[in-house]
């Protein structure tokens, strides 16, 4: 209450200054366009930004993907039809990336299709267990909730550098392993361990976000439902599978979709942690798009746009299927 009113008071004081300037302007505008058109006046700034930086780019992206050359501006770019897509799909053998003209695309695609299911499964599993634990009557709930959540606040770069420091050859983890008599491992130099830590670190950094959502979902389940189930002599395991899970399903669905969308877009942490390496072992799709479009010379915007459209299309199809399945489930 007090924090809230303080905040209100603070915003009030800050608000007073520009208000003096904007108010006459907006009042004049109201006189000019009339009260009925005022909602548009309120909408236009946000709508302009939405159109300019979200809707328009989608269409420009489509144009990019069917045009060539390394020129940035669309009017400088000749149309080349599906050539960018053809380049991406130009493969001798689809199961062997090295036979493709753009082998990195296929490696990134392969990595992403392995990374996403594993990372999402682990993430939701760990988040659900953590949420169930935090939903119990235990000491220090708030403290533990904070502990599991705070990495969400850290920037991906910080997260990556932190773990780099821990995983490096002479790092804390190897020191610990040495202390218990194990051979130190150069964690980020081997493809398999680098991949493992990629999953681990991204889960570490983001699970708190999903834990909070799931915890809120658990807390929204009314207690008397459980009490009624107990009166109906349902075993606790049954009340978990028959009450908790079904009632948590909408939240789980949201968490699942969010987790997949964000997992597919993983970039920052791995870019700093491994740079996609060793080799291309941890290079995911977004990094490929970045490398092709921005980091390599000449910049191949067309190829990057084609790859990103394929990625967006995959996400769209995934979300649509997921929604359909969940709606079908709800009808049962």
């Amino acid at each position: 209450m007090s924090a809230r009113s303080q905040f209100a008071a603070a915003t009030g004081t800050i608000a007073a200054l520009p208000a003096r300037l904007i108010e006459p302007l907006m009042y004049g505008l109201q006189r000019l366009v009339g009260i009925k058109r005022m909602p548009w006046v309120f909408l236009i700034p946000n709508l302009t930004a939405v159109v300019l930086f979200a809707l328009l780019p989608v269409f420009i992206n489509i144009f990019y993907s069917v045009s060539g050359s390394d020129r940035l501006f669309p009017w400088d770019r000749p149309l080349i039809g599906g050539a960018n897509y053809a380049t991406l799909f130009d493969c001798g053998n689809y199961l062997d990336p090295s036979t493709c003209s753009r082998d990195l695309f296929w490696r990134a695609l392969g990595n992403t299709t392995v990374f996403v299911p594993i990372q999402v499964t682990v993430m939701i599993g760990v988040a659900l267990i953590t949420a169930l634990c935090l939903n119990r009557e235990i000491r220090g709930r708030g403290f533990f909730r904070g502990i599991f959540f705070f990495p969400v606040m850290l920037s991906p770069v910080v997260v990556a550098l932190m773990w780099q420091w821990i995983l490096q050859r002479n790092g804390a983890l190897n020191g610990l392993m040495g202390a218990v008599g194990l051979t130190p491992v150069n964690w980020l130099v081997f493809p398999n361990t680098a991949f493992f830590w990629s999953v681990f670190i991204t889960v570490w950094a983001h699970m708190g976000f999903y834990t909070i959502i799931l915890l809120a979902g658990l807390q929204a389940i009314p207690r008397d439902v459980y009490e009624a189930a107990r009166m109906d002599s349902a075993s606790p395991w049954r009340s978990f599978t028959k009450i908790t899970l079904p009632l948590l399903k909408p939240v789980l669905l949201v968490v699942f979709i969010l987790a997949v969308i964000r997992s597919v877009q993983t970039f920052d942490e791995l870019y700093v942690l491994t740079g996609g390496g060793p080799g291309s072992a941890t290079m995911l799709m977004v990094q490929y798009i970045y490398e092709v479009g921005f980091a390599s010379q000449p910049r191949n915007f067309g190829l990057a746009a084609a790859a990103s459209l394929l990625l967006g299309l995959a996400l769209l199809i995934f979300t649509a299927i997921q929604m359909r399945i969940s709606r079908g489930g709800a009808n049962d």
Partner: protein
């Protein structure tokens, strides 16, 4: 009998999963919970703690393997006739005594040492007999060196990050709440279309439209300019959505009363709606601050000049440039993480409730 056993175990596991308010006595499921949570505490928290502790280690201390738990520095002594302070060693002599000597230099497996009390006499001691004298020492100079070695550029990065975060957040708050006001408190043709257009952008991942976004920023002449990062991010659909949902709960009668009180539409928005939406604004502000401060990909693409780097970009570029200078890198990592860590302590309730509400709705 076996059945009973199964039921018993089953119910315990079930109780572990479903129980909300427990009995007084701790059973093994409570212990399991605590073990899990403590393990979580270790995994979640020690890496951060380790980095913070490490950032206070001297460069020499940092390169040690195995690493020391706490930051240590070698004790030194100033000896007459030598400009630099000399590190102290406890040396075990052949007679089995321990004497404290200062090391001049190391030659192979031997070291030249002198007794600080008697600086004239040089001794040659095998390294294996000498143990460095160390004490716990917080190397704050890592932080001051960070400032000096970047030639003050670090302040530039801090300024850039702060500028982007603050300006983008203020614009986001104003623009989003204006749109939310229009979409919640007016009935007009096209309002549904506008709402759908804004919410549809939820489905467009920022990375997918990276190239055209960059093009538009370039067309606006904002490559390398902080505004090039600010403008593309201000129209957040989640912000509009959250604020609209909140504003729907503000009674329309308030607006009618204000209208009868001769308040212009802007004044209604500014003096009535905005102050009353403070809780939702706080949530949106926190989200905005978080994502703008931590933003990486868009700045990476747009902010091409060194002077326009944000802290995150600088940090990422340091990790390659100063690969060996872990003292500076760790200090900077800590510095970049600190503001949000502090913010988190004060705002935890808002953040978690905000995330929970966006997740569920």
């Amino acid at each position: 009998m076996t059945d009973l056993g199964v039921v018993k175990t089953g119910s315990s596991i079930g109780a572990f999963i479903t129980r909300r308010r427990g009995r007084k006595k701790l059973d093994w499921t409570d212990w399991l919970t605590y073990v899990y949570l403590l393990l979580g505490l270790v995994i979640m928290f020690t890496p951060v703690l380790w980095v913070v502790v490490s950032s206070f280690k001297t460069p020499a201390n940092l390169t040690e393997f195995p690493p020391t738990l706490l930051p240590y520095a070698a004790e030194t002594v100033i000896v007459e006739g030598h400009d630099a302070p000399l590190p102290l060693f406890d040396v075990t002599t052949e007679e089995g005594e321990t004497v404290r000597l200062a090391q001049l230099r190391r030659v192979g497996i031997n070291a030249q040492m002198i007794d600080p009390a008697n600086p004239e006499e040089r001794l040659t001691i095998p390294v294996e007999n000498a143990q460095p004298v160390r004490q716990i020492y917080l190397a704050g100079e890592n932080y001051t060196n960070l400032l000096s070695s970047t030639g003050g550029m670090i302040w530039r990065y801090v300024f850039n990050s702060l500028f982007i975060t603050i300006v983008a957040t203020i614009i986001t708050l104003i623009m989003n709440s204006m749109a939310a006001f229009a979409l919640s408190k007016y009935r007009f043709r096209g309002s549904n279309m506008a709402l759908v257009a804004i919410l549809a952008t939820l489905m467009i991942p920022a990375t997918v439209v990276l190239v055209p976004t960059y093009m538009i920023v370039a067309q606006l002449g904002l490559v390398g300019n902080l505004w090039g990062v600010i403008l593309p991010t201000v129209a957040t659909p989640t912000g509009v959505f959250l604020l609209r949902q909140y504003m729907l709960t503000i009674p329309d009668e308030l607006i009618e009363a204000a209208r009868m009180d001769h308040a212009s539409e802007w004044r209604i928005f500014w003096r009535i709606i905005l102050p009353l939406s403070a809780p939702a604004l706080a949530v949106v502000a926190i989200f905005s601050i978080l994502s703008r401060w931590n933003d990486f990909l868009l700045p990476l693409v747009v902010l091409t000049r060194r002077e326009s780097y944000t802290l995150q970009l600088a940090l990422a570029s340091f990790s390659t440039e100063y690969g060996i200078r872990y003292d500076l890198l760790l200090a900077m990592t800590t510095l970049t993480a600190l503001p949000l860590a502090f913010a988190f302590i004060f705002l935890q309730r808002y953040i978690t409730s905000g995330i929970a509400s966006t997740g569920i709705k």
